[in-house]
Amino acid sequence: MSVLVQNLTFRYRHFALRVEHLEFESARMTSIVGPNGAGKTTFLKCLTAILPVAKGSLFIDGRDIGVMREDERARLLAYVPQEHSSIFNYTVLDFILMGRAAYLPMFSTPSVKDVEIAQEALDFVALGRYAAQPYFQLSSGERRLVLIARALAQKSDILVLDEPTSFLDPKHETEILELAKKLAAEKQKTVLVTLHNLDMAVKYSDAMVFMKQGQVVASGRPDDILDEALLERVYEIKMSIIPYDGRKFIVK
């Protein structure tokens, strides 16, 4: 499924987000990068309708996100927050089961089928053995994977991840990005992710969006758009791009 953004605006105190036109294609991983305060998270929160969006600015396969019911939207688009902070320590499986909420009427409980879907999602992130563990007993890297598994249980075609690799060690960072890439390539999902690590973004993304001060500065395939002038414009410091082993490395 593809996502179309058209004349999206959102204002909050002194900050204004303004995206004129963007398209995210299915089976692609797109990373959204930019300095702190560029509006990446605000943009994701508009996409997921956590923040109110105006009619006619966001479309999934031609359907307006702004007028969808919550459950309809959740079946098309799943959001993976940076962190989860409930006070109740649910087991990992119970936690992932919550991804089925959009398919269940208010007065019902998950069926055997829902439990199977949750377990499958957990197996997909290779944490199947932790099903009965309490969520907060896991390491922060494992928790991120469980959050992704919950989004997978939503069975949506679009996955939106808000800085899924922040505060993670290089091993877990790689693991998460490999997984995101796999979801786009093998499961044909439209994957949107905000990232701070530019090298990783260049390595894993099919497309990149550079944002600054609430606006999109450049978007496209990394090979087509990435150059030193763009980096300086976005980040306001000099960076060099060094090709090595068929890849581009960014040195500050």
Binding site: E70, F88, Y90, D94, F107, T109, Q154
Partner: protein, 340 residues
């Protein structure tokens, strides 16, 4: 939590908890100032079906069982279940294991509403209506003050203090205007009591409590999702405004129905859900129905104790406070970011 029980023992315990209310109910029928032996109790219970049994019964056995003990136990059962289910539901809704209808001041709102009705509209007008209106009013104040804050736990507890104080002040005002006769009844009822149980009171409150409890039990799994942050619940596909409103109406409804007949019985809604979580974990699919069963049993037992401990009856609300407050202090000290 350390020393978690293994699954089989947990399951056994679960089954036991669901049968406990029936067991306690039947055994409690034997307790009271007039001693009725098991044989006579069974005969009395069977007498509506076999009228010939009535002749061999001791004097007053029928009245004691059917007009005194059964309504009182039914009230204890329903109020205990109501307060526990509303406590567990509010804890999920506010994402805070330290709140319940009593701590948030909703019971005080309901008590004020019921008193207002009893003093100014008389005993014949059902106090549940006014109790419900003011329970909702209390809930609205809690939501308005405690909504946006950096430390929601403390903010919510403080909001509860404020709301309770506000309605206590209004209640004092009513007591000031009430006749000495009404005042005495009000005073005893406010302490939390099951003695007023009559079929007339039950006829209004019992169906309300049963319906509210049933709806909240039906929402038991949804309560897990509602206990996530609002952002998460929303992106998981929940219409949080609609579903929260339903939980609020139901908890206020059963709190009002319970308070209108039994006065303020505090702390049950805090103690019971915690005990259940310690036994079976935090999944509301178990916590909510089990809180109903354990809360029902707890209040019937507490009432048995308070009416047989001395030659006079101690209000059961005093008893639950004496147990609940030390319990709350322990919880508050243990209070941390993650629960269980």
């Amino acid at each position: 939590m350390n020393g978690r029980m293994n699954n089989r023992r947990r399951q056994g315990l679960g089954v036991l908890i669901y049968f406990l209310p029936l067991l306690v109910f039947l055994l409690s029928l034997l307790i009271g100032t007039v001693r009725i032996p098991v044989k006579d109790l069974l005969k009395t219970l069977a007498s509506p079906l076999f009228p010939s049994l009535k002749q061999s019964l001791p004097a007053n056995a029928l009245i004691i069982i059917f007009s005194v003990r059964i309504p009182r136990l039914l009230l204890g059962l329903a109020v205990g279940a109501s307060l526990s289910v509303s406590g567990a539901s509010l804890q999920a809704l506010f994402k805070n294991p330290l709140v319940n209808e009593f701590i948030l001041g909703i019971s005080s709102g309901a008590a004020f509403g019921a008193s207002l009705s009893l003093v100014f509209l008389g005993r014949s007008f059902p106090p549940q209506i006014s109790a419900f209106v003011f329970a909702i009013a209390a809930m609205v104040i809690v939501l308005a003050i405690g909504r946006k804050s950096d430390s929601p736990t403390i903010a919510l507890l403080l909001t509860g203090v404020i709301v309770s104080a506000f309605f206590s002040a209004l209640l004092s005002l009513i007591e000031f205007f009430a006749s000495p006769y009404a005042l005495q009844a009000l005073f005893y009822w406010l302490m939390g009591n099951l003695w007023r149980a009559s079929w007339g009171d039950l006829a209004v409150s019992l169906p309300l409590m049963a319906a509210g409890i049933l709806i909240l039990i039906l929402m038991r799994w949804r309560m897990n999702v509602l206990s996530m942050t609002d952002e998460e619940a929303k992106t998981l596909g929940i219409n949080i405004r609609k579903e929260k409103l339903l939980v609020i109406l139901m908890t206020a409804g059963i709190t009002a129905a319970a308070t209108a007949v039994a006065g303020i019985i505090g702390w049950v809604g805090l103690i019971i859900p915690h005990l259940v979580r310690m036994m079976v974990g935090v999944d509301n699919r178990k916590v909510i129905p089990m809180s109903a069963a354990l809360g029902a049993s707890f209040l019937m037992i507490a009432d048995n104790i308070t009416r047989s401990i001395a030659s006079f009856e101690v209000p059961v609300g005093i008893f639950t406070s004496l147990i609940g407050i030390p319990f709350f202090i322990v919880l508050l000290k243990r209070s941390k970011k993650v629960w269980l």
